[in-house]
């Protein structure tokens, strides 16, 4: 067991599991009653399903409540002229902050947050940053666009709460960011795994070696599952000489999952603030530890635009083990295992770009970028994996070995295209790795 100072909230984070489950139930009941009385969307949805909040008294009862999909939220915001539609629970003057989802799976969701919600976002992030070793002595570099996407906004405010010095690095080129990281001796960075690799690549083109010349010792990643894909984590750690920590969150739900400094190979769920369920996507029944399912989440304390049993579409499995850090918050083994909406069927086989990433990032002679193109050629599905070959790499050998390893990992024959360095797209935010041309 770690010392009490290892936990942001030593009481909640080490609560015996039975007590934690009891706290979750009472907080779920309160969140449900709040949504029922304040949200026109949930009053209608729960009413239609015959759910009376006062009759939800156990976890088994919770399973009777219908889940909420992203398309329902989208529909609830497009059915009339108001900005937040029937999802909003507070008057306009109580909304403090606007954000929106990226809209990769349809119309973006507009997210209203009250003052209290915004404090709560920072609190959730403070929990995870503290668990990853962030302290007031850290100088944290945050290179994102500071725009309408929630991304690292709450990470910024959580750093302020902890007392870290924050360097807001929006509006700079990647080269200028590298200069600032070096000049200011930043000790930590927050970005997507893809951008961490891209920044390292930019530093190298500037003749710099981040692992040896910079002071960065922690990188917290979000937005993509890469930081818990072993090969990707190892590559980022090696290029920066820093520990890489994963974090999971969603605009509609909040910052709900984190890897702690014990790095037990999984993501903790912040179970005092969220109910996370791992369900069989067909039966909607909970799966056992060690079985993969889809995540459904309820944030307990969201005020302006709460969601109840929201389908995240992320795939994950509960671990059988508790973490060495001493937290009673359960672990999702291996973190997020891809998104169901990025899972495509190719020649009858379910195929995920995350699997391709775990293979590509093992090859030292390949650059950090990759792209997967699925298309239909003469009625057959064809998968092409485009990668960048670094100078000095043996193209024939890499081509052959990569095709073989992709076949083993995916169960499919993938065509490999080796491209010159710098020719594939670069991303600052979420990378678009899969292009499915069969849809066009």
């Amino acid at each position: 067991m770690a010392s009490a100072r290892a936990y942001w909230n030593p009481f909640l984070e080490t609560l015996p599991y039975k007590k934690l489950a009891a706290l979750q139930l009472k907080k779920f009941q309160r969140a449900l009653a709040y949504a029922y009385t304040h949200s026109p969307f949930y009053r209608e949805k729960l009413g239609r399903a015959g759910i009376q909040p006062e009759k939800i008294r156990s976890y088994e009862d919770i399973l009777k409540i219908p889940t909420t999909t992203k398309s329902e939220l989208q529909a609830a915001q497009t059915e009339n002229n108001s900005i937040y539609g029937s999802l909003c629970c507070v008057p306009p003057e109580a909304i403090a902050v606007y954000h929106q989802t990226s809209g990769t799976t349809g119309h973006p969701i507009r997210q209203a947050d009250s003052r209290r919600d915004w404090e709560w976002w920072a609190e959730c992030w403070a929990t995870l940053l503290w668990a990853q070793g962030f302290r007031s002595s850290d100088r944290v570099f945050i290179p994102f666009s500071y725009g309408v996407f929630v991304a690292f906004w709450a990470g910024h405010y959580a750093c302020e709460k902890i007392g870290c010095e924050v360097i807001p690095a929006g509006g700079l080129s990647s080269e200028a960011r590298i200069d600032k990281i070096r000049e200011l001796k930043a000790s930590a960075i927050m970005c997507t795994p893809t951008y961490a690799l891209h920044l390292a690549e930019v530093a190298q083109t500037m003749g710099l070696n981040p692992a040896e010349e910079f002071c960065v010792d922690k990188i917290v990643c979000a937005g993509e599952p890469g930081a818990l894909i072993h090969a990707t984590k190892r590559r980022i750690e090696s290029e920066w000489g820093a520990k890489v920590f994963d974090h999971a969150g969603a605009t509609e739900a909040g910052a709900w999952g984190f890897e702690c400094s014990a790095q037990s190979g999984g993501l903790h769920v912040n179970e005092a603030f969220f109910l996370v369920e791992v369900l069989n996507p067909q039966t909607k029944e909970p799966v056992l530890p060690g079985e993969e399912g889809e995540l459904v989440i309820t944030p307990f304390d969201r005020e302006a635009q709460p969601v109840i049993r929201f389908e995240l579409r992320d795939r994950a499995m509960w671990s059988n083990k508790f973490c060495a850090c001493g937290r009673s918050y359960r672990l999702l083994d291996g973190g997020l295992r891809g998104r169901s909406d990025q899972l495509v069927k190719v020649r009858g086989v379910l195929f995920s770009p995350t699997t391709v990433e775990s293979v590509v990032r093992r090859f030292e002679n390949l650059g950090n970028e990759y792209q997967v193109i699925v298309e239909r050629v003469r009625e057959l599905d064809n998968v092409t994996v485009q990668v960048e070959l670094l100078s000095g790499g043996d193209s024939d050998r890499v081509h052959h070995e990569l095709e073989q390893e992709l076949r083993i990992a995916t169960g499919l024959r993938c065509h490999v295209e080796l491209k010159p360095v710098g020719t594939l797209p670069r991303y600052e935010a979420k990378a678009k790795r899969l292009i499915d041309r069969r849809e066009q």
Binding site: P10, K26, K27, E54, V90, R115, R116
Partner: protein
Amino acid sequence: MNKKALMKISEQVKILHQAGEQLCALGEAHDFPAMEYNAKRLLAVIKIFEMNISDLLEPIDPGESDATEHS
């Protein structure tokens, strides 16, 4: 820290909550926006104290609206 110490923290949080609400109401009544809006912000932070401590110690009334900030 034992339960008694936690209860003491929770009592202080209650006092803060009451003070925040009173400041907010006074600011509103006396047309004093700097008082009213800073008190609203203070109440948002006090809610985080309640999530961290009070929710753990006290039974939650499922019917509680939690909309104190807007009252």
